[in-house]
Every structure is written in C-alpha cells, then in structure tokens.
Symmetry: C2
Subunit: 481 residues, 2 copies
Amino acid sequence: MGKVPERAQWSGNFGEWFHRVISEVPIYDIRYPVKGTGVWTPYGFKIRKEVVEVIREELLKRGHEEVLFPLLIPEYMLKKEAEHIRNFEEQVFWVTHGGTTPLDVKLALRPTSETAIYPMFQLWINAYSDLPVKIFQIVNVFRYETKATKPMIRVREVSTFKEAHTAHATREEAEEQVREGVEIYSRIFDSLGIPYVKSVRPDWDKFPGAEYSVAFDTVMPDGRVLQIGTVHFLGQGFSKAFDIKYMKADGNYEYVWQTCYGISERVIAALISVHGDDHGLVLPSRVAPVQVVVIPIVYKGREEDILRTCREVVGELEKAGLRVKLDDRKEETPGSKYFTWELKGAPVRVEVGPRDLDKGTAVLVRRDSLEKLTVERARLVEETKTLLERIDSDIKDRAKRWLDERVVRKESLEEAKKLLETQGGIVELRWCGNTGCGQDLETKLDARVLGWPYGDACSPEGPCVNCGSKANMIIRVGRSY
Amino acid sequence: MGKVPERAQWSGNFGEWFHRVISEVPIYDIRYPVKGTGVWTPYGFKIRKEVVEVIREELLKRGHEEVLFPLLIPEYMLKKEAEHIRNFEEQVFWVTHGGTTPLDVKLALRPTSETAIYPMFQLWINAYSDLPVKIFQIVNVFRYETKATKPMIRVREVSTFKEAHTAHATREEAEEQVREGVEIYSRIFDSLGIPYVKSVRPDWDKFPGAEYSVAFDTVMPDGRVLQIGTVHFLGQGFSKAFDIKYMKADGNYEYVWQTCYGISERVIAALISVHGDDHGLVLPSRVAPVQVVVIPIVYKGREEDILRTCREVVGELEKAGLRVKLDDRKEETPGSKYFTWELKGAPVRVEVGPRDLDKGTAVLVRRDSLEKLTVERARLVEETKTLLERIDSDIKDRAKRWLDERVVRKESLEEAKKLLETQGGIVELRWCGNTGCGQDLETKLDARVLGWPYGDACSPEGPCVNCGSKANMIIRVGRSY
C-alpha cells in the first residue's frame, strides 16, 4: 500500500449530493416544519456525539471547564455592548409573551452567549486569584437568517454550538489564550481529518465587539469556502461594558482581558463533505458510529458455520475496543448491505464467505478506496486496526492535498476572478491593507476577503492587485457560504 | 461496621439549606437575571453530567436511540392535540419576532416535545417493520410558571429534560413499554440511591393527552413530596391527532400506540436533598465529581515525604479507575480543606500525616457518617473501593428507611391532616374512587392526591375516609412542590 488511493469517485452536483447523503443515511431530517431547523436522527446523533466528544476532550485537556447557561437573554443585557447588538439586532428571535401575558422585558434567544455569560463573570471575578477563567458550553443558538438557509451550514437553530469564554489578568495572557484556542481548534480539525487555512479576518468582518478574529476556513467540494471555527480576541470591550474587574496586587482595579471561540455543527457539514464520495459517507474511525461492519456471505448449507464465524469475529473486534456491527439481516443480499454501509460510511467492511472458512481467511474492504484485502483469520483484529489507522491517515492526507491545490497565489484580479469562477477555492493576492480598497475588491470579485495568513504575515514585493499602491500583505479571498 | 450509621447531622430549615448548598458548593447560580433560570457551574455541571450518563446508559441498554429535535414548535402544531394545548396554553413562551420582523407563525419554546416529535413520526413510520420506535432526547424545555419559582424544582427553563417517546403496533406492546419505562426509571433512581413510591396519578392529574400516568414521587427533608419522573400511556390520542399510521399485514392501516416518559433536573434536586446533611453534599460515588480527596497533613520537616506519598496514593487510586483530587493548597489548613470537601460531598477523604508515614498507614474518612478508619497503606486502594461501595449502600438504605417512615397509612382525614401538618410525607387513605370526592379531599387536606400504588392496587376493607361510601382503593396524598 504505497501511495494514498484516490477517492472512489466524485461527480455531480455537490448541493444535491449533500442533501442526498444527509437524507438517506439519514443524518439530519430537514422536513421539520420550521425553516432553517432540522432533526438529528439516531445515526446522525451518534456522529454528532463523537464529534462533540473530540471537541470536549481537547478543551478539558487544556483546563477548560464545562458549564451551562440559560437560553434567554433580557433585552437590556443584549444591548450592553454597542457593536455587538448593532450586528445581532436584526438576527435575534424575540420571546415577547408568556402564555397570553406580554412580558415586561423582551427575552432574546441567545444568538451567542457573551451577553448571558459576562454578567455572571462580573459576579464571579473579584480578585487576581479568580483568574484565569476558562469555560465552555455546548448549546443551541439562534439566528433569524433572512438569506436562503442550508442544512447544518446556514440555519436558524444552530443545534450544536460550542462556545468557550475566557478572562485574564493581562492583555498578554489573553493573547496567549488566543494562540491556545487556535492550537486546540487545529487539533480538533486534525482529529477529524478536516483541512483548513487560518486567517486573521479583516477589520470589517471581525466578530462584533472583538479587537480581532482568527478564522478557520475549509473549501467544500463545490469550491465554496466554509468558515468552520473562529477565535476572537475581545480585549476589554466587553469587560468595560459589563464591568468585569479584578483587584490587582497594588489594590487598584483592572478590567479583565477576554477571548472567546466557537465551533458549530458546520464542522460536521465539513466532515461529511471533505471526505465523502458518490457512494456516500466516508468517516474517520474516531467518529464513525460503526467502525467495522461484518457481513456474512451466506451459501446454502454453510449458513451456520459462516454466521458463527462472523459472530466470533464481531466478539474479537469488540474486545479490541472497536464499534462493530454484524449485519445478519436475512432479507437483504450482500450487495444491498454493501450499499447500505458504504452510504453510512463504516470505514472497514469484513466479509466472511465459504471460501474464507476453507482457507482460514477473511476479506477486508476499505470504505475510502473500496480496495479489498484478504487477511489470515488469525490476524484479523490486528490487520483491521492497522487498516483503520491507514484509512484515517489516507483520508486526511487526501483532503489536505485537495485543499492545498485550492489555495492558489494569483497576480491579478482577472486571474483571481477566473479561478473563483471555475475551480473556486481560495485565492491569495497582494493587497495594500486599505479597507476601502478591500471592500472594492470584494465587490469586483464577488467574493469575501477571508483575511491574511494567521501567524504568517509577510510583506510581498509588488503592488496591490486592486488599487496598484504598494502592497503590504497577502490576503485570501474566496466565495463563501 | 454493623448497622447503617446515621447522617452526621440534620437541622434547620430545608429551604435555606438547599439554597446554601447550591450556592456555596456551588452547583447552580440563581443570580442569572431571568426569573426561574440558573447557571450550572463547573462543579454542578459535573454532577449533572454524571446523572445524565446514568439516565442515558439505562435507556441505551434497553434499545432506545438518542436524537435531537428543534426547540421551536409552530403554533398550529402545538394545538393539534386538544387536551395537550388546553393544559399548556398559559404556560408557553412565544417567539413572535425575528429581528424587528413579526413572524407569520408564532413559535413556541417547547414545553415538552410531543408536538415537535410526532409530526416526524408521521413521516418515519409507514410499515409494521418500522415499529417499535424508541427514542429519547436530553434538552431544555420551557414553562411560563406563574407561581413562585424554586431552583431546579419549579423553573421556567428546565435545563435538563430527558424525554423518551415510543410508538408501537398494539396496545399491549405499548403497555408493556410503560412497564419497561417504569423499570428503567426504578433502576436510575436506585443507582442514585433516591427512594421513591410509584403511583398511578388520578384522572384529573394525568399528563395532558395521556390515558394514564405513572409517577415517581420522593419526599424532601421538609416533608414535601417531589415528583421526580413520570411514565405516560398515550394510547392513540396523539397518533390520531398527528395521523401516525402503519400498514398491518392485512393491508389495513392502524394508528400507532404511544408512550412517553420524562425526567428532569428535579432528580438532581432530589439527589442533593435526600442524602445531604449540615456539612453539605453527600453524593453516591457513581455521580460524585471527586470520589476520593487526598489531603496531606503536613508537618514541618516532613513536607516532601508526605506530599510524595500523597501523590503515590493519588496515582494508585486513579489507576484503579477512581476520580481523585489531591488538595495540596499551601495556603489552606487541613481543617479548611475538610470543610470544603465535606461541602462538596467527596464520598471518601484520605488523610496522610507523619504518623501514617511512620506506621505505614493512612486514614480514610467517610463523608456520610464522618467516621474515621485507619488502614494499612498497602491495602489502601482495596479498602477505599470497599468503603465506597459500603457508603453507597448505606446512604441508599438510610434514605429509603427515612422515606419508608414517611409513607403512613391513616384511618381518618383528621389524622391525615395532622400528619401532613407535622411530619409531612405521604399519607395512604381508603378512598371510594370518585373524582368529586377526591378533589374535595384535596381541598380539605390542602394536599395533592398522588394516586394509587402502581402495580399494587388493593380493595381495602372499610369506608372512604372522606365521603363514607365503600372504599375501593388506597390512595396516596401529600403536600407537593
């Protein structure tokens, strides 16, 4: 097994493919009668749960503590930080009545929880010894999207929003926390094999209330850019609005320095999209609800022997800690079972037929490349585990290579536009750094400025591709969801 | 260790105690500025998480699948089942605006999810082979309570609501599912050491839309009854309202038979209350965030030896799979650490001092009885595990005995009233079974008829304690939250 095998196949329209996969696996049922919402089905919920566990684990490992805040935010609270509310004003769902009684204070469904959490920070934080605070919660948030909604990607109920919020004694510590946030997110996406680029968003596109925002973007199979995670340096904007102070050693008070960072179910949309193929889902083993499916190839007269062997195989694999499913449905042919489990993205399929019984073997089939491998029965567990690791590594490499090919440096707006209209992806351009010029460039390219490379700013030689004045950075541009 | 030791102490006002414990541990911060809501703090969230895991585990074990439905329910959907809406009409929070735009259809924050889930059942269920469906979700639900709210007990945002929903081909299978639901709940409460009685609620107090409801009640330290779980037989009421049919073998269609059952964070309020004492929380080891706290009793000159031994002890206990915390804070005295961990309810405290080093021992202190036990250092892990089991069993027995003493048969209304006014708890009375009489009895006793014993109906000899006509059952009465 030398080079990374290609995806089995990829063709057709991505939007249709995505819709088909989430409906037929099924993962997320969009027939629920409220626009921009959906139902996580049992299988979808299992994927979601594993992804959530990856996120939770990385945060807990770095000293974050999980909490749970209320959904409802009083209007006066939501309005405390001026920029924040300006942005969210038109996007908030409002609760105005309890039963038939009008409420004295309108209550917002949280669009994000800064304004719910920071009043409590004000109560919790008094002294230097209370810092740092590093918490997170995994909740639903709500946005009254007026654009066309898209399942898991642009929704009115974000059913899966992990938001972390931290408070620190100094600017330096808070900026260090931004770096930790970026590192944690990198580890999360790496675990899921999702490739990304990290960009510092331009000023006109940062989180409302933040000093700066670092974003993780990936490219979907249709060439569109999907933002999958953001880390924000909040400075003291919110701490001043919410009066969050601590007493320093000298007895004076200082406002805390804050960060926040969020990931939503978009990470699951990306997971599905960057690895999938025409057969359906391809999942890294870490999050596959079924890691190995065992399918008996039943022949007349050998039914019992074959089934017994399959059950033994299942027992051995489970003992090795794997999530295994025996598909022994009598009414279905093996072919129909292959179809089902390829659709559902079980990373490895084990087939046991009469020839295997005779020769003491079993057949392993990789979901990603559909390659077959005959292994000795006695070495099955070991071979399966090795194969799972190999698949995880291969699908990650393949997705990364695919993205790498879609982050392309161009020297002119014309070339950039042509690329965005054909292959899509992310174009890197020389830019002067001027806001007016950047927004003009967005209009001309009908695309979004994603920002400059995080941690890798450079001063390129040559003029800004838009206005012709001296460029002082490289920016990334793409057509986004 | 012969008989079950008593609680360390219990005194004072329960309401104040409960408030103090949830605020000082802290578990749940009620200072959030929306009435009837609260914040799960890091430590509180850990308890909540363990309790949720107990619930989840029991449901998954019995073939339930976890799902996640949207929060918002369109008004027309909520109104489909007539009795259901009649009950919830005045209790629902309504979303009426998105941004500044009035919504075409008002959206309810789910008060419970029958009317969100059953429209999807209508899509998912077609044939006999689609049945049974057994799903659950763990979500927040909302009730616009107009009575005084009480943290975790009577809230406007129930932050932790496990609701299971099932659909079956026949009445018999659905009633069998009610029995399974009752069994699952029994196992959950047993795991938490929470004692209960199971009653079939009277007709006027069943779940709106149900044919009958089985409820689990416990008694809080102030003598008030707390409903901690309910299992409902829905019959075909909802399936007819939501048109949920399946095709039978003969080609005809039949409406499905349904059940639903719910548990909320009240189970955590009960957990805290039935085991706690004047020192604070007492937790069963299954849900204690810290099962063993190790406290060095540091003496000058021996600091390093003692700390090293403590770290070894922590390592050994963790290796044995326990959740262990070393409290090596330098600025706190051992006494202050005892105070902290008694408040937080760590089941076992390990103390290691200079005498222990010399003699090769360690001291174990039970949180429930505060008894001390000196053990050989070499047998520490084994002794700790045995002690944890012993504590779990003892606190469960103690709570059960306490409840048993508070479920009392009485022969007259006068006696019943006197008991309810002094000890509180649950009184069992002979009753005729007539609704008017039952409601009259509720008024006279200023109490709630909890219903008759589930699975244990009997026809008592003698007259109804209220109207004097022939009694045909025993009912339970209590003053409830």
